[in-house]
């Protein structure tokens, strides 16, 4: 069975400082991993995805994530936070790689960006 643990429920950063949102996964197969963002009263938007190609994945809006199999981690980073990045972020796992089947979401990390 697949599962995802987001290690921080809330993260606060100052504008123009780095962002780190942590995610660990558990999977019986080679998983596909995703990060989604959810702004208030808006739908989920895909930030980036890992599907067994390059381990460093670049996404939209300057976000990137690194797949580390030895650590079963898929942490999300951004060098410089903007006020518009304030939102809920979800780490997601899907098995097997590339499938459009069931997505398993983490519990979410609320990112606050301080002026």
């Amino acid at each position: 069975a697949q599962s995802v643990t987001q290690l921080d429920s809330h993260v606060s950063v100052s504008e123009e400082t780095p962002v780190l949102l942590r995610c660990n996964y558990s999977s019986s197969y080679s998983p596909s991993l995703f990060w989604y963002v959810q702004h208030p009263n808006k739908g989920l938007q895909l930030l980036l995805k890992y599907t067994s190609a390059a381990t460093l994945v670049k996404g939209i809006n300057g976000f990137e994530a690194e797949f580390k199999k030895s650590e079963t981690s898929f942490h999300l980073t951004k060098p410089s936070a903007h006020m518009s990045d304030a939102a809920e972020y979800f780490c997601v796992v899907s098995e097997p790689a590339g499938s459009a089947r069931q997505l398993t979401f983490g519990s979410g990390t609320q990112l606050t960006v301080l002026p």
Partner: protein, 111 residues
């Protein structure tokens, strides 16, 4: 192209009632998935349909059912509503194997 659409946007029901939620996928997408997002939690998988066949079911009681129509739109039905069914219900569409695109959701409140 239009994205995934869901109706209604908001819905208020009382305990014991029945509800039907609707979803229209992106044109060309034949797979529809349903998720329940309780306040403060991540979405949880309920069902996936592909070409009108159920492909997957999450850990939800039999009060939850769904179907997919020939035009690939889908309905989620919930019977005998409980207070705990209050949530944002999300629909996502995809091609058979690919990224899932989410709709804005239906906010269900059970009183």
């Amino acid at each position: 192209d239009a994205g995934v659409t869901q109706s209604p946007t908001h819905l208020i029901k009382t305990r014991g009632q029945h509800v039907t939620l609707r979803c229209s996928p992106i044109s060309g997408h034949k797979s529809v998935s349903w998720y329940q997002q309780v306040l403060g939690q991540g979405p949880q998988f309920i069902f996936q349909y592909y070409e009108k066949e159920e492909r997957g079911r999450g850990n939800f009681p039999d009060r939850f059912s769904a179907r997919q129509f020939p035009n690939y739109s889908s309905e989620l039905n919930v019977n005998a509503l409980l207070l705990g069914d209050s949530a944002l219900y999300l629909c996502a569409s995809s091609r058979e194997a690919g990224e899932q695109f989410f709709g804005p959701g239906t906010r269900l409140t059970v009183l």
